[in-house]
């Protein structure tokens, strides 16, 4: 660096000319690159502002990428859920009591159609985006639902599927006596008692008894299991044909729903269904009453109880909300008296393999689309809407309502009664009233719709804000072309003038004039 060597008596104007030329080069560079600043130091005081703007813009771009990913996921989810809603409607249509069709066509059809619909539901809930499953919460590398065959019929290593669980449950609920785990007895006395055969969760449970009056006294259940009710006939003469005694029982699929079985006194011999012959003595009447109960409950056992049992088995097998799967504990040669939880799924097929989140399924997958805005788009396939649909379809799929050629009319009637009972249960479970419960398909669709709305709003906000920031950044960094061009022109004029003046001055020396 020649500091003092630049002593050469060149006029100072030369150095200013050099600096003007350097300035010209800089302006040319600005014009060519379009940027006002071409090095870090040139930014000066706008450096801080520039850095902040760029940091903000970078963040926004990151969030916009997240928004795209979330929108993609939401569209896949919505497609699947819309179709599931249609299947739910179809399921409702197929479970219509008393719509047997000609020769029971509808009943046969119901079973097969339920199977097909169940397969479709399983496929929909196993939707994936490029290999990541979206209906399992954040467990995205395993299929949320096991396959149709595994669920219904068990798997190759001998674990039980739904059919086996349902069979076990039906046997447990019916009891070896075939009376739905109830015992009825008169025992030669004037009191006919009806009692549960033990303290266990199977079979009928007695809720109430009503009727009686002058001719009989009723004893109510006393609240401790096993319950029993009784009718003590007092005055046979006061008993007339048409007097009714009603027993309230609950079925295993829903212990809050009481159904009433009515026994009418009659003088017909033999008494019809649900009727008992008025005897001469209270003892005889009691005996007749007990016999009538036995016939009635045997019949109910084969029809309503079978369907209710299947529904209860579905509740046991398709466990939701973190509860374990329940199996009937074998108690041979006696009837089973307990359910056990198979928490390790050692002998039962696990129908749902995704994340188990009972309190906040939506929160299993969250994405951040803004500084403080997170959208929650997680869906687990064991939510109540999906589970109820699957339970209903599975129940229909494993039931066989086909009429064979050489069956009696009574068997046909029983099958029809089973179909009615199953359809009744299905209609209640799938009814539109349940749309507002948490986890129903409609409420899931609503929550996802709200998330999509939020995403859309945030996307618009990002686009606007990003545009504003880009404008501000351009104002700082872009070289204003007109200004630069004007400066170039003025500089050119000054340079030309300087060159002229320098040349003139250098000619003006006395040496030129000496002779």
């Amino acid at each position: 660096m020649l500091v003092n060597k630049s002593f050469y008596p060149g006029p100072r104007s030369f150095s200013t000319v050099t600096s003007m030329q350097r300035q010209m080069e800089q302006l040319q560079l600005q014009l060519a690159s379009g940027k006002r600043f071409n090095s870090l130091a040139e930014y000066g005081t706008s450096r801080t502002h520039d850095l902040n703007l760029r940091a903000r813009l970078g963040r926004i771009e990151g969030y916009e990428a997240n928004v795209t990913t979330t929108e993609n996921r939401l569209s896949f989810l919505n497609n699947a859920i819309e179709r599931l809603d249609e299947i739910e409607a179809d399921a409702r249509a197929l479970a219509v009591p008393s719509a047997y069709g000609s020769d029971g066509l509808n009943m046969v059809n119901a079973s097969q159609q339920a199977g097909t619909m169940l397969k479709e539901v399983i496929d929909l809930l196993n939707t994936d985006i490029a290999g990541q499953f979206i209906f399992g919460g954040h467990v995205s590398d395993k299929r949320p639902l096991s396959s149709f065959d595994q669920i219904l019929h068990g798997d190759a290593i001998g674990r039980a599927g739904f059919s086996q669980v349902a069979t076990e449950r039906k046997a447990a609920d019916l009891g070896t006596a075939g009376l739905g785990r109830l015992t009825m007895d008169a025992g030669g006395t004037a009191t006919a008692t009806l009692s549960e055969d033990g303290a266990h969760p199977f079979g009928f449970k007695l809720a109430s008894m009503a009727g009686g009056g002058t001719y009989a006294t009723i004893s109510q259940p006393n609240g401790t299991a096993p319950q029993s009710v009784g009718v003590t006939f007092t005055d046979v003469a006061a008993l007339k044909a048409g007097d009714t005694i009603t027993v309230g029982v609950t079925y295993p699929d829903d212990r809050n729903r009481v159904e009433y079985v009515t026994f009418t006194a009659t003088t017909d011999d033999p008494p019809g269904k649900g009727q008992y012959l008025i005897g001469d003595t209270p003892e005889a009447t009691a005996a007749n009453f007990a016999a009538a109960m036995e016939t009635k409950f045997a019949d109910l056992g084969k029809t309503s109880m079978a369907s209710a049992s299947t529904a209860a088995a579905a509740d046991n097998f398709f466990n939701t909300k973190g509860e374990p799967v329940l199996r009937v504990v074998d108690n041979a040669p006696d009837d089973p008296v307990a359910l056990s939880a198979d928490t390790a799924y050692a002998s039962t097929v696990r129908w749902y393999n995704g994340q188990v989140e009972s309190t906040d399924p939506r929160g299993t997958v969250t994405t951040q689309i803004d500084e403080t805005t997170r959208v929650r788009v997680g869906v687990t396939a064991d939510e109540s809407g999906f589970a109820t649909l699957i339970k209903t379809l599975a129940s229909f799929a494993i039931s066989d309502f086909t009429t064979t050629d050489n069956e009696t009319s009574e068997e046909t009637a029983q099958k029809r009664a089973q179909f009615d009972a199953m359809s009744g249960i299905a209609r209640v479970r799938l009814s539109e009233e349940r749309n507002t419960t948490e986890g129903s398909i409609e409420s899931i669709a609503l929550e996802l719709g709200l998330a999509a709305h939020t995403v859309g709003q945030v996307k618009t906000r990002h686009a606007e804000y990003g545009g504003q920031l880009k404008t501000m950044l351009a104002e700082i960094e872009q070289a204003p072309i007109e200004e630069v061009a004007m400066q170039l022109m003025t500089l050119r004029t000054r340079l030309e003038a300087s060159f002229q003046a320098t040349t003139m001055v250098s000619q003006l020396t006395l040496v030129n004039f000496l002779r």
């Binding site: 008596p9 090095s39 997240n66």
Partner: protein, 596 residues
């Protein structure tokens, strides 16, 4: 006699004109020579009796001591700022402009966004690979910048040694010139030329170091630095500089020493205030070190944000007594006790370290009192801490690896831990994404010079993650790939953890201390460096303008104006011709007289 005195007058006048012509010719010949001072003839009149004569007195050399001193100062300052500007220019090219593809702020934003994408879709392999790529790019840039800074420091040392060699040469030759000037046997014209040379050499020396010149009456000079260290009196002192080997952030730098003629050694690091060498030293020891420190802060912040476990790790509380599990602590990990002292909340931070510091002089930058201890054994640690912190707390040992703390004289508000993750899985949500050289964990250990010093040159991405990107997501072996807990934790730390730098730049450089989140650290660094470069350029421009002004003053004071010399030449020419005419007239008269 009339005629002879006329003759001798005319002859002396012609003599004087000759001498004058000689001086003019010398001026004109040297009009382009740098460092030449205009010479002028001083004529005096003498008389013997009735005859007066012109006698040439001395040749005077144009010299203004004040101007000379001003020049020397300007040259030093300009040289100082020039060398700084050249290095700062290189620094700003390395750092790049905000928004450039390889600028730190762009790379940091890309890294943060890659982590964001990872938190949104952790099960996507391309997102995991993208996060690692962004981390790698950031790390490579930090390494590159750090390497560039250390290379520049090494170059300053090379340039210092060159400058020192030149300086010594100049000092020796100035001493010789002094001696020759003292010798009055020299021809005056030669003496004047030597004085020009003397001034040139003084300027050359002032380019290297700041000098304060004293001009003696006999023409010799004595040199001192502006700070008062003698450079040349009778004999020159010698500068010595030993290059410090491979320059690195943690290595020793070379030392500049001055050896006086008597053998006394003076350390000059910090005694020079201006000149090229001082500029190089300033770059090596202050500006570039500041830049390196700031990069180290960024690297340390990145590594700690990724690997720090939540602050309640290893701390449990039962009925007012806190238990800290010391088994998880590595050197550099720490726990902090927050307590109330006279209504003011204070913090004591106990850092696991190989050295013991029990009574620090000052609070650290975050306002905490930092105590360093060996925390490998809970029992020993409890006893030592109790001795160090006195009655404010009561420390105990729970029999295993836990240290119990309870408030005694002071009310204990809380205990929080700052522990870095060790294993990739099973240790918590933190992940050692960035490691030190050789795969060692970065824990900001305070042992020795501190692990943070030079870390920007050593930081690298954890090699264990390169082949196994699942570890970015799976904090335990059986976690699912879709669980975004770990990426969310990493992102939360990156966006919220605050760091305060212990290093603060000098007040004259702005007194800047980096503080804030990692993104803030990056912005502040780029801003500060840009500012420094701009300031360096501005100072260089200002000093150059001052030097230009001084030089043009010197031009007009010492420079040769050709026109003036030509005019003078014409005068002398006429005077000579007139004198010659007088002589020839006298000659004719004498001839006429003799011819009588």
């Amino acid at each position: 006699m009339g005629l002879s005195s006329t003759l001798s007058n005319a002859l002396s006048g012609m003599n004087a004109s000759q001498r004058g012509l000689e001086v003019i010719s010398r001026n004109v010949a040297n009009s382009g020579t740098p460092g030449y001072h205009r010479q002028a003839v001083v004529l005096t009149e003498t008389h013997y009796g009735q005859a007066s004569q012109v006698r040439m007195g001395t040749v005077q050399r144009a010299f203004d001591q004040a101007l000379q001193k001003q020049h020397v100062i300007s040259v030093s300052d300009t040289s100082y700022h020039a060398v700084r500007a050249s290095f700062l220019d290189r620094l700003q090219v390395e750092m790049g402009k905000p928004g450039d593809a390889n600028s730190l702020d762009t790379l940091y934003t890309a890294f943060e966004n890659a982590l964001q994408a990872l938190a949104t879709t952790p099960d996507s392999m391309s997102n995991r690979a993208g996060a690692l790529n962004a981390a790698q790019a950031m790390v490579e840039r930090l390494n590159g910048l750090s390497g560039a800074i250390q290379t520049m420091r090494h170059e300053t040392e090379l340039q210092i040694s060159n400058a020192v060699a030149e300086l010594n040469r100049n000092l020796t030759s100035l001493a010789e010139i002094n001696n020759r000037i003292l010798d009055t046997a020299y021809d005056p014209a030669a003496r004047l030329a030597m004085m020009d040379e003397r001034d040139r050499v003084v300027t050359a020396i002032s380019e290297m170091v700041d000098v304060s010149v004293s001009y003696r009456d006999n023409g010799t000079v004595a040199l001192m630095t502006r700070g008062g260290v003698g450079l040349l009196d009778n004999q020159p002192s010698e500068f010595q500089f030993a290059i410090g080997g491979a320059v690195s952030a943690t290595g020793e730098a070379g030392m500049l020493e001055l050896v006086t003629p008597g053998g006394h050694r003076v350390q000059m690091n910090g005694l020079l205030s201006s000149g090229r060498i001082a500029g190089l030293l300033e770059m090596r020891d202050t500006t570039l070190v500041n830049a390196q420190n700031q990069l180290d802060e960024i690297a340390s912040g990145l590594a700690l944000a990724m690997s720090t476990l939540p602050s309640d790790t290893a701390v449990s509380e039962a009925a007012g007594t806190f238990t800290v599990d010391l088994s998880a602590m590595q050197r550099g990990d720490s726990f902090a006790l927050t307590y109330m002292d006279g209504g003011v909340e204070k913090t004591v931070r106990v850092v696991a370290s190989g050295e013991t510091v029990t009574d620090p002089a000052n609070l650290n930058a975050a306002g905490e009192r930092v105590i360093q201890f060996d925390l490998s054994d809970a029992g020993n640690a409890a006893a030592a801490l109790q001795a160090a912190l006195g009655g404010a707390f009561s420390f105990g040992d729970d029999g295993g690896d836990g240290l119990t703390v309870a408030g005694n004289a002071a009310t204990l508000v809380g205990v929080s831990s700052r522990i870095t993750a060790t294993a990739a899985q099973g240790g918590g949500l933190g992940l050692a994404l960035f490691t030190d050289a050789g795969g060692a964990a970065f824990t900001n250990s305070l042992d020795g010079a501190g692990q943070k010093l030079g870390f920007a040159g050593r930081i690298s991405v954890n090699q264990g993650l390169i082949g196994n990107t699942d570890l970015l997501v799976k904090s335990t072996a059986d976690a699912s790939l879709g669980d975004a807990a770990r990426p969310n934790h990493l992102l939360y730390n990156l966006r919220n953890m605050r760091f305060v730098s212990e290093n603060i730049t000098a007040l004259k450089d702005g007194g800047v201390r980096l503080s804030g989140r990692v993104g803030d650290l990056v912005s502040q660094t780029i801003n500060y460096q840009g500012d420094t470069v701009a300031r360096g350029f501005a100072q260089y421009d200002a000093s150059t303008m001052t030097l230009d002004a001084v030089i043009s003053r010197m031009d007009s004071a010492y420079g040769v104006d050709i026109d003036q010399e030509m005019a003078r030449l014409m005068e002398l020419q006429n005077a000579y011709a007139a004198g010659a005419r007088v002589v020839s007239t006298v000659q004719e008269l004498i001839d006429a007289l003799l011819a009588m």
